[in-house]
Amino acid sequence: MARIQAITVPKWGLTMTEGTVSEWLVDEGDTINIGDPIMDMETSKIVNVVESIVAGTLRRKVAQPGDVLPVAALMGVVAEADVTDAEIDEFIDTFVIDESVSGAPTGAAAEGAAPAAPPEPTPATAAVHEPAPTAATPAAAPAPAPARTGTPSVPEALKSGDDDSAVHATVHARKLAATLGVNLNNVSGTGRNGRVSVADVEEAVTGAGGSLPARGPVERVPEVDAVPADDSGVAATSVARRLAKSLGVNLHSCRATGRHGKVCKYDVEAAHALQGGAPAPAAPTPELAAETAPEVEAVPMSGMRRTIAGRLQASKQTIPHYRVSMDIKLDALLALRKQVNDGDPGVNVSVNDCVVKAVAMALVKMPEVNVQFDEASQTIRRFRDADISVAVAIDDGLITPIVKAANSKTLTEISAEVRELATRAKAGTLKAEEFQGGSFSISNLGMFGVRQFDAIINPPQAAILAVAGGEQRPVVENGELTVATAMTVSLSSDHRVIDGAVAAQFLQVVKRFMETPSLMLA
């Protein structure tokens, strides 16, 4: 416990800046306890009782009734019996208002430097202003950081005192106090349960005008070999682990080529050889190697392969697919195509280009198919334009470049665009926006002579049309057996957002456009 303590003007509420002393309720020499009423004080709002926040003997009344004092100003001094009057005088002389409590720029007021006087300045009572000459002493500053000089100096006042072994302090606070010769009885603890911390000891020293030993720069440990010694976390086969231990090889230094990414015996031997150890046992003879060569080659999945695998598996597992198939006669369309291609050397329209065109027009007619399904928000995104993704097979995968707004493009424009997109897909020069999105997909395997197949929806789209090859088939028309060129298309739809009847009607529209292609111009 500190030996001398101040009684100061309390701060009752945010707006209180000063108080007027009405009457002391105790006398000098009285013993007071924490919580005892000691004074009546009047503020601009109320008259209230000041309760003591310290305990001890009231040795000096600094404030007198009628004094108007700022918050945190000194009103009285409590001290133990053995404190001399001289010490109390010195305490009063050096007392400085704690600005953090007063919330007022007392320093400025004391120096009288403020050009415009604050409203009702009244900082002045004789009691408060007595210590004015000392206001500029170093201790007056709100000590931002403990002063650290080369040589510590501890004021004698902090060193004396009774046996402090019972004072509640942290291990390091006690060590520091011992080093500095500070008696812990002179330090007030601010920690949990009043425990004294290192910071408390330091503050006591600097608060009393002392200084602390300089703290040198921290010398950091240099970075070392990145291979940690502890290799117990490395996955390894038991043989490899044992071998590594016997060879002194750190498993971190080994390439893991074993199953499940484990370091295997071969890896340890290789690492050992690399580190200049004895060569690994000779490789198996070619005949042996041939015999033991695996029958199955493990081919790692490319990033694209994994994406395809993940997306299509998710699609097939989560989307309730159903399929609707329809045969479409192509004779009229092929005739139109021939006419177009013969008429202009700059045009080379394929059947697939016609499918894209017909589907685009059908999608505009039936916007309920031209949708994406946002599962997270349970909303259906209906598109104004038909952005048609055309599946293109490329090395080790497929990609779906998009013919954007195909509904507003001519057959020749679609044809040129599909050819360009397909080539660029293979050359890997598509930009992301050219293959991401789309409102509908078309997959055409007709060139392989496929008669019919089903496709998996490309989410978040809700439908995909699988287009097979055109071929001559016997058909019965008006009771007569004739030959027609026909192909089978199969529409896979997401039943959550497209119902069977809608899918069927959509195929009807596609069929009508393709079998009567002049409608596409109408």
Binding site: P345, G346, N348, T423, R424, A427, G428, T429
Partner: protein, 465 residues
């Protein structure tokens, strides 16, 4: 074997095989159809084997002047067959290298004669067996062949084209060369160096008509000094073929006539594109003269059909064909930042002695285009390195736009000039000005210092003359 590809290239010359490699590099499935030799004329009958022969001519010239360097050579014998064999060996090795490149890039090489069978379709005939191929993109790189003149058709015996001129059994006593383009001038120089009596006939008013007039005049002067008879503004009206000689009837623009009897005639009066029998007519492919009409991206008027190299028009040079092959493929594959070929910036090199190299406009072309020009010249007589190697015959000429300082053209004649012209090509491509070039440090002692001085001269401040 698959018959469906993303890209099929017709013709395995420096345009076609380069296009095929680039397509394969970009991940496109690619086939190359070649009827005879991978590598085309360039590797087999053009650039490369002639350079091998010309090296022989240069050696002959060096030996003749060995005394200048203190050598006594005595009696020198020459075996023509050995020189021809060297030339053929080089061709063979390079053509083999092209085959390796095809294989390495996974390009399917189809032997046979291709013919367009429709849009995106190609039928290839190999000894009567026809296979049809399909491709989204078909690139024609069928090249060109010597142009025949009526009545002077090559016969492979007395009237040669460059094919026969490349592999002579024996040196003729005398030779008349019709046409003074790069091929005619190179063979004139070659055979002259090998001791053949050469007459060079050009219908226009200067030899090497595409070159700057000063260069042309300079070369003509040197040729005549070497004993080559040069006739400009002169046509060969007819020839009489004899048992082992040919009498050529010449007619000057002024009406004068002359008859010259020589052992052999080389016909090098230009070339024409190989546009016949490949199905262009049925598809309605537009042509211009004997060449296929293309746009800046080598596209023809037919969807999915392209033409590059000689068959798409002059300049009929291997490096132009290669460059077009790359531009064409990169454009169709969507590679970013492709730029069309600027045909004005294709350098030309003629490997006669002295060598001629040029890029850009001649002075006359620049003036005809209405440009105000600054011309600089520098004679190799003032170039230390040229004197040191004993060949200071030649000069460098630069043509700059007076207003912008742009390098419009550069014309060089002299030793090793073909190796240096790309310095000016680079400057043009980077749009360097006369002052940029003047600020560039050229190493000493090099022949290229003459390039620097020619630039400085255009600025009126050449140092060494």
């Amino acid at each position: 074997m698959s018959t469906s590809f993303d890209v099929i290239v017709v013709g395995g010359g420096p345009g076609g095989y380069v296009a095929a490699i680039r397509a394969a590099q970009l991940g496109l499935s690619t086939a190359l159809v070649e009827k005879q030799h991978l590598g085309g004329i360039c590797l087999n009958w053009g650039c490369i084997p002639t350079k091998a022969l010309l090296k022989g001519a240069e050696v002959a010239h060096t030996l003749a002047h060995a005394a200048d360097f203190g050598f006594t050579t005595g009696d020198i014998s020459f075996d023509l067959k050995r020189l021809v064999k060297h030339s053929r060996d080089v061709s063979g090795r390079l053509a083999g290298g092209v085959g390796y490149l095809m294989k390495k890039n996974g390009i399917t090489v189809v032997d046979g004669v291709a013919r367009l069978a429709g849009k995106g379709r190609l039928s290839v005939d190999n000894d009567g067996r026809t296979v049809e191929y399909r491709a989204d993109h078909i690139i024609l790189a069928t090249g060109a062949r010597p142009r025949a003149l009526p009545g002077i058709e090559p016969d492979g015996d007395r009237v040669w084209t460059y094919f026969e001129a490349m592999v002579p059994d024996a040196l003729p006593q005398s030779l008349l060369v019709i046409g003074s383009g790069a091929i005619g001038v190179e063979f004139s120089s070659l055979y002259n160096d090998l001791g053949v009596e050469v007459t060079l006939v050009e219908v226009l008013d200067q030899i090497m008509p595409v070159e700057d007039a000063e260069v042309s005049a300079f070369v003509r002067q040197l040729f005549e000094r070497r004993g080559i008879r040069v006739r400009t503004s002169t046509r060969v009206t007819a020839i009489d073929r004899h048992a082992d000689s040919v009498t050529c009837h010449l007619e000057g623009a002024d009406g004068s006539t002359e008859s010259i009897t020589v052992e052999r005639v080389i016909l090098s009066a230009g070339i024409r594109g190989n546009i016949e029998n490949i199905g262009l007519e049925e598809l309605g492919v537009e042509t211009a003269g004997s060449f296929i009409r293309t746009d800046a991206w080598c596209r023809t008027n037919v969807a999915g059909l392209y033409a590059i190299g000689d068959v798409s028009g002059p300049p009929c040079l291997a490096h132009k064909a290669s460059h077009e092959g790359v531009v064409c493929v990169e454009k169709l594959a969507g590679v970013a930042d492709v730029r069309p070929l600027d045909r004005e910036r294709v350098p030309g090199c003629t490997y006669c002695r002295p060598q001629v190299a040029s890029v850009g406009m001649t002075e006359a072309q620049a003036r005809a285009a209405g440009r105000s020009v600054n011309v600089g010249r520098f004679n190799l007589q003032a170039n230390g390195k040229a004197l040191a190697i004993g060949d200071a015959t030649g000069f460098v000429k630069t043509v700059f736009d007076a207003a912008s300082g742009e390098l419009l053209g550069a014309h060089m004649v002299g030793p090793e000039m073909t190796e240096q012209i790309q310095g000016f090509g680079l400057a043009q491509s980077l749009e360097a000005t006369d002052s940029d070039l003047a600020h560039t440090v050229f190493a000493h002692p090099t022949l290229s210092e003459a390039m620097h001085e020619a630039v400085l001269d255009a600025l009126g401040r050449a140092i060494h003359q």
